[in-house]
Each structure stands twice: as structure tokens, then as C-alpha cells.
């Protein structure tokens, strides 16, 4: 004890004259820090209602609810998060996980209201005092709870792939598949978009669990062409995948393939265990493409006697004759078709209805008929000189190659068109050693072909010329060659708000000589075999317009596939077949359609 100990405490007076620290609330407001985790704001326009916020919320403070005036559409569930401030702890995990990055917190932290129900509100939709607040917690650009980049699949290099018809995409290794499957947030927005409504999150979960057999069962619930669709599906699901909002969408298609590739064909019967009893009714199917065979599969599973009439020597339709084997090897297509046939589906190859067997016989001997003949007649260019012998259709080239014949295109080829058939015809021509130029009316981004096909075509050396309109085809000096006259086009925006239209610039014309011109601007259908029935079936733009369950005006005739839908892809055909099978079953059973 010292004198110092007595005097020293009086030092306290030194601070008595300092300005006080206290803030005079509520006269003075103290704003939260710029990063403060205050009240929720949701940018409703950007939110797609994936529900990841609801899934991660540890307090169950978030419910995804229907919002008035907001309709569900592809890529948007139409639901928005509703917060319960009786449960929220403002941890902001919902902000961190938000796939659209639409959810954020304001730095508004004090709120008094006499209405107890007001603490339960839809952020961004209900009027809250902080909705215009521009500060508050956001996810840092370098902080992620999700993996935004896709696991790339190994592929043949363009040089290797040009050497032959080996499959370009090698498929995921198990490790790659697991990593890619791990990215999924299981929102299910893809399910609504998929024409066949495949249970995507469930089968991706099966991949994560390495449950290949369970995955296969899930695939076959909605799609008996899973090996095939795992390779060439137009994967609209991926367009709407919420992971694509900030990065690349989940490779849903490749994960489907990952499952199918891991189950050998010999084990399909044991795993899928498709058992049924014959019900004695008979259904005829015209066309053994994905639509016809899918209908056959689901009808057979319900005990119908199914006969499929196929004009070609093998099944698969456009999948076999329109898709080159470097995208879909034949043995993989056979894997799907052979399993369906193994259930006792009778497929009569080389049997063209209307030629080898009369349509009336189908009508007389079967309880119902499903027609899925596809579009196999190339559309005309409708320009002068189109009948020139050096002008061939894209389908013809693909057909030749599929049948192992030399398409004989020569050294310089021009392909007209921008769809998948055009890209495939171009790539096939590259593989037989030709220099290929692709002429397309609109811009590259307008091309209906899959982006991968466009990318790979370029990588393989196809020369893509957009905004090029063919005008005339004429003889060249050499009888084995042909001259095309084409003009450059300017894109003119459409007054009605439609997509921009190409307009020919007459002063910028080109004349070029090629060995072959490949016309691939689309295909039409040929329905003459149906005879007088045709009059009772509604048609528009060369396609059928079926009613509910794909049923037509002739009650026992159902139609599907490319001839009856606008999308004309394999997955839509599969769904049409499945849907028609349901319709036929209702039609032929007690509960049925009329």
C-alpha cells in the first residue's frame, strides 16, 4: 500500500470532461454497417423460386409460397420465399446459397409494428419499410456454397474425332459423375421443363449415392431411351437449371448417361423386373423410333400385345439414320431398343405400311394404333436449280453413312441450314475428307442446332457462314460440280417484336463452286399411307394436332413424335409415346377415353 494507490484513482476525473459516447436514440439513428445482416430483400424478378433458401434454413423460417400474379413457367416455379421473423436468426445462409443471387439482406435492423402478422412476409413482394435499402449483406464474389462450374467431360480432340466415327464424348468417370451430381440443389425446376418430366433430382441423387441400379429404375419410369437420351437429348432441362444462373448448368444429360453406361445390358431385365400378364388386346405401332418404341414399352408393361411396323431394316428411326455414330454409337441405341424388344414387342422390320402391309389391315386387326413415323422427307429449298444432281439432302448423307456407304460428296461441300441435321451432315462430310462451308440465313446464335454441335463443328474445321441466303443453283463448267449463288443478309428487327428477320442484300452476292451442295433446312412428314383416315385428323403446317393423350379424330388412332409436336426431338417423342400409351390404356380399359 502506498500513497500512490490512494491518489491514483482520482485520475478518473480526467475523463469526466470528455464527450459522452452514448447515442441519443431515437433522435439520432445509427445505420447498420454496409455489410449488416438486417432484414430480407428479394429481387422478385430475378428469383426463380428454386427453394434452396428454404432447404438450407436451419430454423425453418422460410416457406416457398405461391405469389399472386406470378405464374409458374419453365425455369421459374412461381414460388417465392416467405419469411417468418419469429424463427429467423439472420444467419444469411439463405443469401449465401441463393442460386439467382436475388436474395440479400438490408442494413435495416430496427422495426416496430403493432401488427403481429406483419412479421410473416414475402420478401420483395410485400411492402416493407426497407425494400428500397441499398446496403446490407450480400454474398461476397469470392465466397461460394455451391460449385458453379461444370465438371467437363473428356472428349476426343478434333483431330482424333475427324479420323473416324468413334464416339466423341467419352462419358464421365465415376469420380467426375459424383462431383457433377454433387452440384445439384434438388430444386426440381428441370422436372417441369423436361418434356418427359423425368425425375431428374432423384436420379442425380442416385448418382451421388452410386446407386446405378436404382438410378436406372428411375430413368425407366419415364424414359426407356435413357442410354440414347443420355447422349443426344436436347436437354432443355439444362437451359432452366438454376445452377446456370451464376455458372454452368448441371450436366443433367451426361449424368443420365453415367447411370445407363454403368449398367450392362444383360442386367436390365433383372433390375427393371418388368413383369406383366397379357391382357389380350392388340396395339399396332407405326415407326420404331423413340416415340413408337416408348409407346411399345409402356403398353407392353401393361400386358398389351404390341406389333411395331418399321420401314427400315433397324429400329431407332431418326436416331439411327439421322444421328451420326460419333454422337450416338449404334450399339448404344441397340441397348435401349433390344431391351424393349426383349419384353416381347414384335417389331417387323422392312415393312412399310401402305406398301408392304395395308393400313386397313392395321385398323381391322388391332384395338388401337399409334403412329409415330417421324419427318423423313427433306424440305425443298424453293430456289432455281434445286433439282441439280449435285444437290443432295442432309438426311440422305446421314442415311448413307449410317448404312456404311460412301456419301460421295467430293472435296468441297456447302451445307445449307443451321439445325442439327445440317451440323451432322457437315461433320460427316469433314470425316470423309471434304472442306465444308455451312451457309445459314440468320446469325450463329439463332441456329436451332445444339450449342455443342455448333462448337464441335467449328472445332472440326467446318466453316460457318451466317447471314447467307441461297438464291440460285446452276451448272458449273465441270459436270461433277455445281455453282451456288448466295447473298449476304442484314438482320432487320421485327416490328411486331418477333425475332429479327434476314433481308437479302442484292449488292452483296457471291458465286461459289462446290462438288456437292447439301440441303438441310428441315424435314416434313409423309402421311399418304393413312388413306381416307387422314381427312378426320386435324393438321397444321404439315403436322398433326392431337387431342388429349395424343388421341386423334379417329378414336383408335393416336399420334406422336416429330409428326405431332413442334419440338421434334427424341425426348418429346419419348413423352408422346408414353403419353399415348396412357391414353390407349384408358381408351381400351373401363375408365377410358371415348
Amino acid at each position: 500500500m502506498s500513497l500512490k494507490d490512494l491518489i491514483s484513482p482520482f485520475y478518473v476525473w480526467q475523463r469526466a470532461f470528455q464527450k459522452p459516447y452514448t447515442q441519443k436514440r431515437p433522435i439520432e439513428e445509427r445505420p447498420g454497417a454496409p455489410r449488416y445482416r438486417g432484414f430480407h430483400i428479394n429481387l422478385t424478378e430475378e428469383c426463380v423460386g428454386c427453394g434452396s433458401c428454404e432447404a438450407i434454413c436451419q430454423n425453418h423460417a422460410i416457406d416457398m409460397v405461391k405469389v399472386e400474379g406470378l405464374e409458374p413457367r419453365n425455369g421459374d416455379s412461381g414460388l417465392r420465399p416467405k419469411f417468418d421473423y419469429g424463427r429467423c436468426c439472420w444467419c444469411a445462409l439463405c443469401v449465401d446459397i441463393c442460386t439467382a443471387r436475388s436474395l440479400r439482406l438490408s442494413n435495416h435492423y430496427a422495426w416496430v409494428t403493432e401488427d403481429p402478422d406483419a412479421f410473416h412476409f414475402i420478401a420483395g413482394t410485400d411492402a416493407m419499410p426497407w425494400n428500397q435499402n441499398s446496403l446490407g449483406y450480400r454474398r461476397d464474389d469470392d465466397y461460394h456454397l455451391l460449385t458453379h462450374d461444370r465438371i467437363e467431360m473428356d472428349a476426343l480432340s478434333p483431330e482424333e474425332s475427324l479420323k473416324g466415327f468413334d464416339e466423341v464424348m467419352k462419358g464421365y468417370t465415376e469420380e467426375q459423375a459424383l462431383l457433377e451430381a454433387d452440384r445439384c440443389v434438388e430444386c426440381g425446376i428441370c422436372v417441369a421443363t423436361c418434356p418427359a418430366h423425368m425425375s431428374v433430382p432423384d436420379y442425380i441423387k442416385a448418382v451421388r449415392n452410386k446407386d446405378w441400379e436404382g438410378g436406372l429404375k428411375l430413368l425407366y419410369e419415364t424414359n426407356p431411351f435413357s442410354t440414347t437420351c443420355g447422349r443426344i437429348c436436347t436437354h432443355r432441362c439444362e437451359t432452366d437449371c438454376v445452377l446456370g444462373l451464376q455458372g454452368t448448368p448441371i450436366a443433367i444429360r451426361w449424368l443420365k448417361r453415367a447411370i445407363a453406361d454403368r449398367v450392362p445390358a444383360e442386367r436390365y431385365a433383372e433390375i427393371l423386373n418388368d413383369t406383366f400378364t397379357e391382357n389380350g388386346k392388340k396395339v399396332a405401332i407405326v415407326g420404331a423410333g423413340p416415340g413408337g418404341m416408348s409407346a411399345a414399352y409402356y403398353l407392353r408393361k401393361q400386358g398389351y400385345g404390341v406389333t411395331v411396323f418399321e420401314a427400315q431394316a433397324h429400329g431407332g428411326g431418326m436416331l439411327r439414320y439421322g444421328v451420326p455414330s460419333y454422337r450416338l454409337p449404334e450399339n448404344q441405341l441397340d441397348k435401349d431398343i433390344d431391351y424393349i424388344r426383349s419384353l416381347g414387342v414384335d417389331v417387323r422390320f422392312n415393312t412399310r405400311v401402305g406398301q408392304d402391309v395395308p393400313f386397313s389391315e392395321l385398323m381391322d386387326n388391332h384395338d388401337a394404333i399409334f403412329i409415330a413415323t417421324g419427318l423423313s422427307s427433306p424440305m425443298k429449298l424453293r430456289i432455281d436449280g434445286e433439282e441439280h444432281p449435285r444437290v443432295v439432302s442432309g438426311l440422305k448423307i446421314l442415311d448413307d453413312v449410317a448404312k456404311g456407304q460412301d456419301p460421295g460428296v467430293g472435296k468441297r461441300v456447302a451445307v445449307i441450314g443451321g439445325g442439327n441435321v445440317a451440323m451432322d451432315a457437315a461433320r460427316v462430310s469433314r470425316r470423309v475428307g471434304a472442306d465444308v462451308t455451312v451457309l445459314y440465313r440468320r446469325r450463329i446464335e439463332d441456329m436451332p442446332a445444339d450449342p455443342e454441335e455448333i462448337h464441335e463443328s467449328k472445332a472440326e474445321g467446318c466453316h460457318l457462314v451466317p447471314q447467307a441466303i441461297p438464291v440460285k443453283i446452276k451448272d458449273a463448267d465441270d459436270p461433277n460440280q455445281v455453282v451456288i449463288v448466295w447473298g449476304e443478309a442484314e438482320m432487320v428487327s421485327d416490328a411486331k417484336g418477333g425475332r429479327p428477320r434476314p433481308v437479302l442484300q442484292e449488292d452483296r452476292m457471291h458465286e461459289e463452286t462446290y462438288d456437292t451442295i447439301v440441303s438441310a433446312i428441315g424435314q416434313g412428314g409423309d402421311y399418304d399411307f393413312m388413306g381416307e383416315c387422314l381427312g378426320s385428323i386435324e393438321q397444321k403446317w404439315g403436322k398433326f394436332i392431337p387431342g388429349a393423350y395424343q388421341q386423334t379424330g379417329v378414336s383408335k388412332i393416336f399420334v406422336g413424335g416429330d409428326i405431332a409436336n413442334s419440338t421434334a426431338d427424341a425426348i418429346s417423342a419419348v413423352e408422346d409415346g408414353h403419353h399415348a400409351a396412357r391414353g390407349i390404356h384408358r381408351f381400351l380399359s373401363e375408365e377410358g377415353l371415348q
Partner: protein, 378 residues
Amino acid sequence: MFEPAAPVDLSSGKYLKLWQGPQHPGITGNMSLELTTCGDEVVACKTHVGYLHRGFEKLMERRTFIQNFTIVCRIAVPEPTFNEYLYAAVVEELSGIKAPERAEWIRTFNLELMRLGSYLMWLGGVGAAFGQSTIYQWTVTHRDYILDLFEEMTGARVYHMYIVPGGVRGRLPEGFEDRARKVLDGVERLLMDVEKILFNNVVFKTRTKGLGVITKDMVDPYGITGPNQRAAGFARDVRRDSPYLMYDEVEWDVITGTASDTYERAWVRLQEMHQGIRIMRQVLDRMPTGGPFQTPLPNVLHWEVPKGETYIKAECTRGEYGYYLVTDGSQYVRRVHVRGPSYTHAIALMEKMAVGTNIADIAGLMVSLHTYPPEIER
């Protein structure tokens, strides 16, 4: 319960039962001491806990690995970041994730800032317990400046939820380092003032010197760690003995005392606050300003941590803080055990030390052990 030498006969009229708590008795949180007194001397003490039980360890078994990091901060309210760090560390170890170096620096700063904030509140508490409530107002003000820094850095003042498995949740805000330096300078000046008016105060010295002596032979049997053991002369500190984060990259001293009484414990803590400021200044100088601060995690919505078990400890303000985690390969924790220093300090030790003290000193004695009941009842 520590039994007094002679049996207590309450009907004799010689003894009185006195409850301290469970109403919040100061900064020590909601627990109660059942005191048996004779005159103003305490002859027996029994502790009662359970008033804050929220079952964190059980709650965590029902939450996914990412969800848990938002609740661990609540286990020790005045210093949540030690829980955040340790939870992140055990999960990282079992899932084979290593946080980037920048995150380790930020974590080190975060933990030391928390230590300083927690000590400031404690310093105010010890002042208030011995009648010097001015100290409390000063130190809590400066703690608020520290909370301002936390608010800027993490988005919240108390439940920061900033240290996440894999790293931290965001970079430091623009100009943060300068503002942090200013706050540290302010705290340093404050500590010098506090030293003058509290540590050189005849009242404080008289009341605390010799109060609540922890003898050397009590340290290990009672599981005493942290400043409480360092004041008894043990130079043990997890940061030095098994370094984690960036503690072996910076220079600092382990402070020890000898007298091991309430005054000595306060003095050791005061010196540790200076050491903390020293560490933080080095961290601010050396912390990288670029590069990643988070290692990518698996998709947190279905994150499965491989089967395993681990125990990781860190030196919190009050001693050894540890997380024991058992995982079974699923998306959920199989078992988590939180080892906080309060359990040993506030129960067995308190029951022993209370005996023989004056009723008026009980609150000060309890504060001098620096315990938090929520951590006992995790």
C-alpha cells in the same frame, strides 16, 4: 459440494441460507450459488446450473454441417468466435479441407479481437463487482467500438457467424485495417487509464489481494486452464504449446503471475490484453490483402463428412476450449461435445473457493474466475 468441517445445523439459528442468482448476478450469467453463511462468512457453497440449458450438442445432431455453424456461436455469448473457429476446425479436419492462408490470418485477427472484447467486458465486470462501476462504463464503451469492427467485418455485432468451415465468409471491408488500428490505439490508452484507477487503487488492492487463491496443486486436479492457471505460475497456453492458425508466425509472450489471487488474475488478464493488441497489430501488418479466403466446399445442401472423430482445442479468453466431433459419414453430426473452461472453473472450483470468504466478495470471486454458464450447459 464442499463440506464444511463441522456439520451445518440450520435450526441452530447460527447459519443462514443465501442464494446468489439464478437471476443474472452481473456478467457471470444465469447460474446460482447456494451459500450457507455464518455471520458474513460463507461456510458452504453449492452451485446450481441449468437455467440456460438449450441443448446445443443435441440440436447439432439434427442439423447439417453448414447449418451448425450458425448456432455454435450461441454457446458462449460474449465470445462466439472461438466456437465458430473450433467448429470450423473440427469439420475441416474430418472432411480433409484446409482453409486458405488469408482466411487463417483473418481468423487469427478475429479471435484476438474477440479476446480483447471479451476481456474488456470482464474488466468492467471485475471493476463493478468491487464497487468501481465507472470502469465498466469505460470498458464496455470500448468493447462497443470492437463490436463496431465486428459489425463491419461480419455483418453482426454479437453473433458474427463469420468463420465458416473452409474459410471466412467475406473479405475485410475497404479501409478496415486503419479503423481497426484506431480502435486498438484507443483500447491501449484505456488500459493505461484503467491501470491507474483500478490496479493502483487502494480499495481494489485491499479487497482482491489474497482473495480466492488457487494453489499450484489445485490447478491440474481441478482442470484449471487459461489465465486462472497462468496467474498461478504455469506458463501454459494452447496458442504456444500447440500452435494453430498464425500464432507461431507472430511475436507475443505468455504472461504468468505468482500470487494466484483475484488481483493477480486480473493483472495477468490486463497484460494479456496488451499482448493481444501486439498480436493484432502484427496480423494487420502481415495479413495478405489478396487471394482466396475460402476453400470450396462440397455442395452444402447434402454435405457428407467422412466417418471419423477428432478433438481440437484453442486458447479462448478463459482457458482451453475444445470441440470433440464424431461423424458417421452421414450429413449429420453423430456426436459433438463442447469443452468449455467454465464447467470446471464455475462448479467444482467455485464450490471450494467460496468457503471461508466474505459474502460481499462472492460476486467478485466469481467474476475473477471468468465463467459463462451457457457454456456449462451447452
